[in-house]
Amino acid sequence: MSDLLTLIGSAIEKLRKSVELFEASQQDDGLHELSSVIVEIDDYVRRIDDDPLLKLSPVDRSQLGERLAAVKGELQVVIDRFAADHS
């Protein structure tokens, strides 16, 4: 992911899609979407210093990293709990 807004746009699309997939009982596909968001967040955080948008916007990078980690944590809980409930 090259910049934060691209990451967020992609992540929101995928999260919404995952909800739809779960509702359509396509659990594996729903989990795949969730997992891919976690991967994208990890990938972005690794390259956060290269994001040109952050140079344009006065965003605190460490705080941003924490907030993205919190989102990732929420999604990981969903994956873990879902796996536990359906194992």
Binding site: D3, L4, L5, T6, I8, G9, A11, I12, E13, L15, R16, S18, V19, F22, E23, S25, Q27, G30, L34, P52, L53, K55, L56, S57, P58, V59, L64, R67, L68, A70, V71, E74, L75, V77, V78, R81, F82, D85
Partner: protein, 272 residues
């Protein structure tokens, strides 16, 4: 029309005052000074806020703080009151003032840890309650509220019961002194409304969407309203001011494109 600031506001009803306030804000009227209008609305409803705050005087919070919270509810009522509906302003304001004070009391007693997804649901419940009140001029029934929230009635009842428990534990001093760290209400019995994904997991995903949307909002705000000048950024990035300008425009276009896409139009995406 009388000169600015000289109009006799005491003759106007609350509804007429709000109408005048809105027209003044939008530049459609200069019959009265904006700050004077606001002062008049607040002054006229001070008694209402205080009387409602007094109903919560045993909540263990200073009365002044409850009144301040009540003022927030009053200001929200002024901002959101729908003049086209057949509802009296005082009825709507009472509803919002009480809600804001209850919310304040719940928030103050943070020894009760409330899961984030439950907070998100409660926020949605509050928004839908208020929206329904605006439309119908009365609070919604359980059936009506459940329908708007896409929940079963049983789920909503459990949710509201949990909310009441939080308030009860918060305001009951005797109970608090017996047990200063009461357990949070148990929401695990909120059964799934959908096959496959339980209610709380679904809410966690929606909370994640909310959080991302909030980050996006702040970044865009910073980008266009609080950032460094394009020349400053250009110097830092080794780009010309024109290149920085193009980059901002491209970002704005991309955001606009996403916002107008049919499946992204409700960007908050918090419908449970």
């Amino acid at each position: 029309m009388k000169k600015e600031g000289t109009r006799d506001l005491s003759r106007l009803t609350n509804e007429e005052l709000i109408d005048l306030l809105r027209r003044t804000v939008h530049g459609e009227s200069s019959a009265c000074d904006l700050s004077r209008l606001r002062e008049e609305i607040v002054a006229r409803n001070v008694g209402l806020v205080k009387s409602i705050a007094l109903e919560f005087r045993n909540a263990g919070e200073p009365l002044d703080d409850l009144i301040q919270a009540g003022y927030i509810g009053l200001l929200n009522a002024v901002a959101n009151f729908d003049l086209s509906r057949n509802t009296r302003f005082s009825t709507y304001a009472t509803y919002l003032i009480k809600g804001e004070i209850r919310h304040y009391i719940r928030d103050k007693h943070s020894m009760i840890r409330i899961p984030q997804w439950v907070q998100a649901v409660n926020r949605r419940v509050k928004e839908e309650e208020e929206a329904f009140f605006q439309e119908a001029g009365r609070p919604p029934s359980i059936t009506e509220l459940a329908e708007r929230l896409d929940l079963s009635e049983a789920q909503l009842v459990e949710l509201l019961r949990g909310r009441e428990t939080m308030t009860y534990v918060s305001i009951d001093e005797e109970k608090r002194s017996e047990d200063p760290h009461p357990d949070p209400p148990d929401f695990t019995h909120l059964a799934s409304s959908r096959e496959g994904l339980s209610f709380d997991l679904r809410m966690r995903i929606l909370v994640a969407i909310e959080q991302l949307a909030e980050i996006e909002r702040q970044v865009i705000q910073g980008l266009f309203y609080q950032g460094k000048s394009q020349a400053e950024v250009g110097r830092e990035l080794g780009m010309s001011q024109r290149q920085v300008s193009r980059m901002k425009e491209a970002t704005l276009e991309e955001v606009k494109r996403r916002l107008v896409k049919p499946d992204r139009k409700d960007r908050k995406g918090t419908e449970p």
